[in-house]
């Protein structure tokens, strides 16, 4: 059950870097200022090769197993880090697996160097493909794109006559409208395309959508478990020190029981996440089912812990100054990003019944 040695060491190195970033006040400042890009973190991540984790070695990447990305996502979640990297790594996977030589040559090294990617935040569903392809040019409006303003590359489903295709679009050809989110560690964007050039994948659109969905489901589940563990840890620390009625409030049974329940839920979800990552890594036949199940379970567990953390902190938890709200907002966004839990349960039900 234990993590492979290489992955455990990598996780440790991610954590050290992120601890430094958090200690330097970068996350806090980013949230306070509502900035679009957390430059110190992004620069550091690019320098350290985080964007190149999954890039094949033949394209100058590290070619690491997917478990490395999973460990990174969990540590980013723990730090509530404003780094739009999951979509970039997912796009790297798609371009590596399905791209032509030209597409790979054009994008893989850019993505590996830290040029982020974006795709629809409402879910890589195919039926909401809103862009039309005509003469190798795209027309229409994109949906909500996660971290779109930061992205150099847009990956989108497009209608080519009767056919559905996935296309790569250079964000330099677009003008993105930023939509600020309550969760300031991420943002959305929209763009109107009026003849932007597109480079279309020949591969089956469903196969691409499926791969993207698995990747982003696991990314969000990792983020959620990392965040949930951190929230529970700082909440427990507070309950041990905050005194009322002459004793630490953590000695009150009503509070203890809720903390124990959160721990049970986190450990249970974490066990399922480990299995989902392992199945994803070996392209197991049930990788998609496990990804769907854990996206819903982990995001719901995170939301429950983050919601309760505010209550357990009392007044201080309601302030801007405290970190509770940063995690609460991230948790509530995770719950609906790429679709809400009900949609994931429905999708899992379809797989089970198939």
């Amino acid at each position: 059950m234990g993590e492979a040695v290489g992955t455990a060491e990598l996780r440790e190195s991610f954590r050290e870097v992120l601890d430094d970033i958090v200690a330097a006040g970068c996350v806090r400042r980013h949230v306070d200022e509502g900035a679009s890009r957390c430059a110190p973190l992004w620069t550091k991540a690019a320098e350290l090769g985080w964007f190149a984790l999954l890039t094949p070695e033949s394209h100058g990447g590290l070619g690491l197993p997917r478990a490395a990305a999973a460990a990174l996502y969990e540590e980013l979640g723990r730090a509530a880090a404003p780094l739009p990297i999951a979509a970039a790594l997912a796009a790297t996977e798609i371009v590596s697996a399905f791209g032509s030589q030209a597409q790979q040559a054009q994008w893989l090294s850019r993505l590996a160097g830290g040029d982020a990617a974006a795709f629809s935040a409402s879910g890589p569903a195919l039926d909401d493909a809103s862009l039309r392809l005509a003469n190798a040019a795209l027309f229409g409006e994109t949906g909500d794109l996660l971290d779109g303003v930061e992205a150099a590359l847009l990956l989108a489903p497009v209608r080519d006559g009767e056919n559905l295709r996935w296309a790569l679009i250079d964000a330099a050809d677009l003008s993105m409208q930023r939509i600020a989110l309550v969760d300031r560690t991420r943002s959305l964007a929209r763009a109107r395309l009026d003849g932007a050039p597109a480079s279309v994948f020949s591969a089956d659109a469903h196969a691409i959508a499926r791969k993207l969905r698995i990747h982003m489901s696991i990314a969000l589940a990792c983020d959620s478990i990392g965040g949930a563990r951190e929230v529970l840890a700082f909440t427990i620390a507070y309950l041990k020190t905050r005194e009322q009625f002459g004793k630490p409030i953590g000695s009150f049974q009503a509070l203890k029981h809720r903390c124990a329940e959160h721990l049970v839920a986190i450990e249970a979800a974490s066990a399922l996440l480990g299995e989902a990552v392992s199945r994803w890594e070996r392209d197991d036949i049930e990788a998609e089912l496990y990804a769907l199940l854990i996206k819903a379970q982990a995001c719901d567990v995170y939301a429950a812990v983050a919601e309760d953390a505010v209550q357990l902190h009392g007044g201080i938890g309601f302030t801007w100054e405290h970190m509770c709200h940063v995690y609460l907002k991230r948790a509530k966004l995770n719950q609906v990003l790429f679709g809400a839990s009900a949609a994931y349960h429905d999708a899992a039900a379809r797989l089970l019944a198939a």
């Binding site: 059950m1 427990i236 309950l239 041990k240 004793k247 630490p248 953590g250 000695s251 049974q253 509070l255 203890k256 029981h257 903390c259 124990a260 329940e261 721990l263 049970v264 450990e267 249970a268 979800a269 066990a271 399922l272 480990g274 299995e275 496990y290 199940l293 854990i294 819903a296 379970q297 009900a342 349960h345 429905d346 899992a348 039900a349 089970l352 019944a353 198939a354």
Partner: protein
């Protein structure tokens, strides 16, 4: 119901294949395929108690014939020193085959050996472990009392030393299958003046035929009477039946309980998984009406995901147990108890929602079939056994908060 196997064309020897896990699994599967009676499950519903007892005895005997009743025991005591990986395979195959659980022998097969291997005197092991292996002796536990449930250490049943014997007076409750038991693992107070209530408790072997022992059945809300009350009126226990040192019983009882519970939950969680697999197969064949109800379907899938979480947690516990049989360091058993019992409650309630009015019709209960027997209301009511027994969940949660999370007392 007659406890009768199918005709056996050959003898089975899974243990001859213990060095090859696949071959071992295969032989266990062949054995189960030949021995588990077709339709025992349906015939058990509402069967008279005598039939249930005969069936349980027959099943223990069948397991013994192939060495799989006590495979986890050391060889010196009639066991097979079988590794945890082998045990997991046996359990998985039993579930796959829909084989009965030896419910009647849970204390005999798990709690008694765990206690005696760690703390028993050689003569106690010789006499009582062999009694289980050779004579199928049934054991019960005498722990809880009317005023010592979650606060077990408050127990008041008194054992007074008088020369070579201890004289016991008091009352026990919630003792499973005590009406059929030959022996009882008894906790009683030997030092009422100890500085801490935990410090004055001793652990005994009690012969249920001793003069002064009265057993009274408790009719449960399910209509069954698995639990009993025990009354002791000047019952004499020979001094040699003290387990471990006098006044050291509390620690002994604590050390042998949680890991055993983990193994039992493993089996039950696998049975719940098997029930899910059957339901999914039914949906694939012809979706039942409830599958069209989005809320029910989503609940089903949510529970399926939670069950997978639980099974993975249990496997993690088992691998910890393999490395460290004492389980002293593991934080997992109480988490698993909470997760299992709460999921069981919600999932049995889910089936009540699916079943509607039909599930409320009185139907004969089914003993020995796990917790997803298809008798929905009975399954739901039985789930309380897991949220209350073995330390009510509220007590366990306090324990998790204090021991694992380090919150102050």
């Amino acid at each position: 119901m007659t406890a009768k196997g199918k005709s056996e064309s050959r003898t089975f020897a899974p243990l001859a294949h213990r060095d090859d896990l696949d071959a071992f699994r295969n032989e266990v599967r062949n054995w189960l395929g030949a021995v588990v009676p077709e339709g025992w499950f349906a015939r058990s519903a509402g069967a008279p108690e005598a039939d249930y007892l005969a069936f349980q005895r027959w099943w223990l005997g069948e397991m013994q014939k192939v060495g799989l009743a006590t495979p986890h025991w050391p060889k010196d005591w009639g066991g097979e020193d079988l590794s945890l990986r082998h045990q997991v395979i046996v359990s998985e195959e039993m579930v796959r085959a829909g084989a009965p659980n030896p419910d009647l022998y849970v204390v005999s097969l798990y709690h008694l050996p765990a206690t005696l291997f760690a703390h028993g005197a050689p003569a106690q092991r010789e006499r009582y472990l062999k009694g289980v292996v050779e004579r199928g002796e049934i054991w019960c536990q005498g722990f809880s009392e009317p005023n010592a449930g979650s606060d077990l250490a408050a127990l008041r049943t008194r054992a007074e030393r008088r020369g070579d014997v201890f004289v016991v007076n008091g009352q026990k409750v919630w003792s499973s299958f005590a009406a059929h038991a030959n022996y009882c693992l008894l906790l009683a107070r030997t030092d009422p003046n100890a500085p801490k209530k935990q410090a004055g408790i001793s652990y005994f072997i009690l012969d249920m035929k001793s003069p002064g022992v009265t057993v009274r059945r408790i009719k449960q809300m399910t209509g069954q009477s698995e639990f009993c009350e025990l009354f002791f009126d000047d019952v004499e226990i020979p001094g040699e039946n003290l387990i471990g040192a006098e006044n050291a019983g509390w620690a002994i009882a604590q050390s042998t309980l949680s890991a055993e519970r983990g193994l039992i939950i493993f089996d039950l969680a696998e049975r719940m998984h098997a029930a899910f697999v059957r339901e999914i197969a039914a949906v694939r064949a012809a979706a039942p009406a409830w599958w069209a109800d989005a809320a029910l379907r989503r609940t089903f899938v949510t529970h399926y995901g939670e069950l997978q979480s639980l099974r993975l947690l249990i496997r993690r516990m088992l691998s910890e147990l393999d490395e460290n049989p004492e389980m002293g360091a593991s934080a997992l058993p109480p988490l698993i108890k909470i997760k299992w019992s709460e999921l069981l409650r919600r999932h049995t309630d889910f089936w009540l929602a699916v079943g509607g009015l039909n599930a409320q019709e009185d139907a004969p209960p089914l003993t020995g079939g796990g917790h997803i027997t298809g008798n929905r209301m009975q399954d739901f009511m039985s789930s309380y056994a897991w949220t209350i027994a073995g330390g009510a969940n509220e007590i366990i949660k306090t324990l998790i908060a204090e021991r694992t999370l380090g919150l102050p007392r």
